[in-house]
């Protein structure tokens, strides 16, 4: 495994108490993988992405890169990790320094890390990168300031910037959510092409399941709820046959760009619309107050862990596990 989150938690202290934004999440990524982390707001997906990129420290658990605990390494190993995992941000209007031109933004990492010697070679490399991300002719873009570029163009510059250090993993945090609908796909395709060409592992964090389905169609999806991963598996099978009731409800709830489908789609009614506060999580399965398949005496007492089910999938749900594997869950005594 290239990079791995091993039972990672992250707690935040708020005036009202301690909140676990991420609770014991384990995710492993191989090289050249595509994985989408999907969930609604407050599920912890952004925090998970930042933990993965090493931008914040876990309160518990380990972040492993090439088998080594990142937060225990120093010096050359740590620097190697820093460059290996890059992040592409959501807001194109905040992802670039407004006082620096595109060439300044790209040249800094190229020259700093000695990948190229001298300004001329660096400009050449920057030109290549701009062309690679589809900003052609590159010369037109080098001397521009961010406010002279469109949202989609800025995101491409962000991606080019990430590529200057030849990363092994790119974490894209809602990287297409603030961009026009008609160009989202081209940005997603760009990221996918990086995986093909450079073998980069791409982790896309999004709240849009349709985007996730498209982007990770050859990869996996992880569904998060209130800080935990509740379902994990290959995209097509997860989307066509969700195991966790929350995933099922999400997929059924999405409005689709097709009148016939969307007006006849069957919704999964939930028992309650209230999302529990992270300060006061329900006992047992955190989804049980809203879950249509909730089993009293089980779901409200025992917290389900991510368990393997057929099809190389995992789900954290007692009824679902029992149904798909025949295993029974031992009740807490």
């Amino acid at each position: 495994m290239l990079i791995e989150l091993d039972r990672v938690s992250r707690a935040f202290r708020t005036p009202l108490g301690v909140v676990k934004a991420v609770d014991s999440v384990s995710l492993a990524f191989a090289e050249r993988e595509v994985l989408c982390i999907v969930g609604e707001s407050g599920c912890g997906k952004t925090t998970t992405g930042r933990l993965l990129a090493g931008l914040i420290r876990p309160s518990d658990g380990r972040l492993l890169y090439e088998g080594k605990d990142v937060w225990q390494t120093k010096g050359a190993d740590l620097r190697k990790f820093r460059k290996a995992v890059q992040i592409v941000h959501q807001d194109p209007y905040a992802s670039l320094n407004p006082t620096r031109t595109v060439s300044q933004t790209l040249l800094a990492p190229l020259l700093h890390h000695g990948r190229v010697r001298g300004r001329r070679a660096a400009l050449g490399a920057a030109t290549d990168l701009l062309e690679r991300v589809g900003l052609v002719p590159a010369a037109d873009f080098l001397e521009k300031y961010p406010h002279q570029l469109s949202g989609g163009q800025r995101q491409r510059v962000s991606i080019a910037r990430a590529l200057t250090v030849e990363p092994r993993v790119i974490v894209a945090d809602e990287a297409v959510s603030m961009v026009d609908v008609s160009i989202r796909i081209s940005l997603l395709n760009l990221l996918l092409s990086l995986r093909r060409e450079f073998g980069v592992t791409i982790v896309l964090i999004t709240h849009d399941l349709a985007v996730a389905r498209y982007f990770a169609r050859e990869g996996r999806i992880a569904v998060m709820y209130l800080g935990r991963v509740v379902e994990l598996g290959p995209t097509e099978s997860l989307v066509s046959d969700p195991a966790h009731p929350y995933a099922e409800a999400l997929i059924a709830a999405i409005p689709e760009a097709d009148p016939t489908i969307t007006r006849t789609k069957e919704r999964v009614p939930l028992r309650s619309a209230d999302v529990p506060s992270l300060l006061d999580l329900p006992i047992g399965c955190t989804f049980h107050p809203r879950c249509p398949r909730m089993e009293p005496g089980l779901c409200d007492l025992v917290r389900p862990d991510l368990t393997a089910i057929p099809g190389d999938r995992e789900v954290a749900c007692h009824p679902a596990v029992r149904e798909r594997t025949g295993q029974k869950v031992a009740l807490a005594t």
């Binding site: 026009d180 008609s182 349709a210 409005p255 760009a257 097709d258 009148p259 969307t262």
Partner: protein, 345 residues
């Protein structure tokens, strides 16, 4: 809907923004009708002019916006008035009691330092309802209608409510004076999936019970698929296609509509040939001559760049597209009742 006079008629509306670099032609020659009880979706992306258009209906445009031409006609009980010609008092009466606007809850549409009840009261008083008890009764009624608990919500400050709750409150407030028309600007953007679903279902329910006409503005095609009877796609300030929702989703005739439909992935069904539209929207100050979509259009020919194509009827009189090559588009897209991306795969 046929035969009934339109409740709102827009004729040849053109709006410019005055900027230092020159006038930005945000809305160009927009014409459409809204029948009573009908739901119309105006779909466009950034720079399409949709929001400029929407705020102009209730004359809420910023001072830098200038209406160059056009009429906005409102008809009720046989009487037609030009909204543009209303004086301040009549305008205030028109706003909210005839036509109300629901803004994006996520965009700080509330005064953060007063309670929801105070906002209700302020709005009611501003529109002539002075009896506090009557307002209270009405607020209870409306919050009930949107499935919120009045006792909890009215006491709260905006920051104490979730995004979905705030959007419901805005919808409730808009219904205060029982308007004929509701205009919604990006009603579900920035909301979570499950909350979105709840709001969409709520709008459908309210529409059924109260019978108002709705115009909603969005970049999200799927909301149109959910709720709209008819749709308009806008590009660079102009209407490029106008059709019933079925016609537009399954039989689009303008290349931009086709491009937009192909750029949106779905969760259900086959993925189909999904791809982006290349290029970017044009500079609204210096528009290229001819069709403004031509630089990005796979069907473009020289004739397209000569003159701006007018909206012409295609297939049926109720379906119009602004493209001189619509028949070629029709040949590619076909007539089958299936999503465009699937058909083109």
């Amino acid at each position: 809907m046929n035969g009934a006079p339109s409740v709102l008629s827009v004729r040849g509306l053109s709006i410019d923004y005055l900027t230092r670099r020159g006038p930005v032609r945000a809305v160009r020659d927009v014409t459409f009708d809204l029948a009573p009880g009908e739901t119309l979706a105006i779909i466009g992306e950034s720079g399409s002019g949709k929001t400029t258009l929407a705020v102009s209906f209730i004359r809420l445009s910023p001072r830098s916006a200038v209406v160059r031409a056009g009429e906005l006609l409102y008809t009720k009980g046989g009487l037609t008035t030009d909204i543009r010609k209303l004086d301040d008092d009549d305008l205030r009466e028109f706003r909210w009691s005839e036509c109300a606007m629901v803004f994006q809850a996520a965009l700080n549409s509330f005064n953060p330092v007063i309670t929801i009840w105070d906002q209700f009261l302020d709005t009611a008083k501003a529109h002539g309802m002075k009896d506090e008890r009557a307002v209270r009764r009405r607020a209870d009624e409306l919050l009930d209608l949107v499935h919120l608990d009045p006792r909890r919500v009215l006491r709260a400050f905006p920051h104490e409510l979730s995004g979905g709750m705030k959007q419901r409150v805005l919808i409730a407030m808009s219904l205060l004076l029982d308007p004929q028309i509701l205009i919604l600007d990006e009603p579900t953007t920035a909301l979570d999936i499950l909350t979105q679903r709840a709001i969409l279902d709520l709008l459908r329910e309210l529409r059924g019970r109260l019978g108002f006409a709705m115009i909603f503005i969005s970049h999200d095609l799927s909301i149109a698929a959910e709720l709209a009877d008819r749709m308009i796609t806008m590009y660079a300030g102009r209407i490029v296609e106008r059709a019933s929702v079925g016609d537009l989703f399954y039989r689009p005739r303008h290349p931009y509509s086709v491009g937009l439909l192909r750029a949106v992935p779905r969760v259900s069904g086959a993925l189909g040939a999904i791809e982006s539209i290349p290029g970017s929207p044009p500079d609204l100050i210096r528009l290229p001559p001819g069709c403004s979509y031509a630089p990005r259009c796979p069907f473009a020919i020289d004739a397209c760049r000569a003159a701006e194509p007018p909206l012409v009827a295609v297939d049926t009189p109720a379906h119009e597209a602004a493209c001189i090559r619509w028949q070629d588009v029709a040949k590619v897209v076909g007539d089958a009742q299936r999503p465009v991306a699937e058909k083109l795969a």
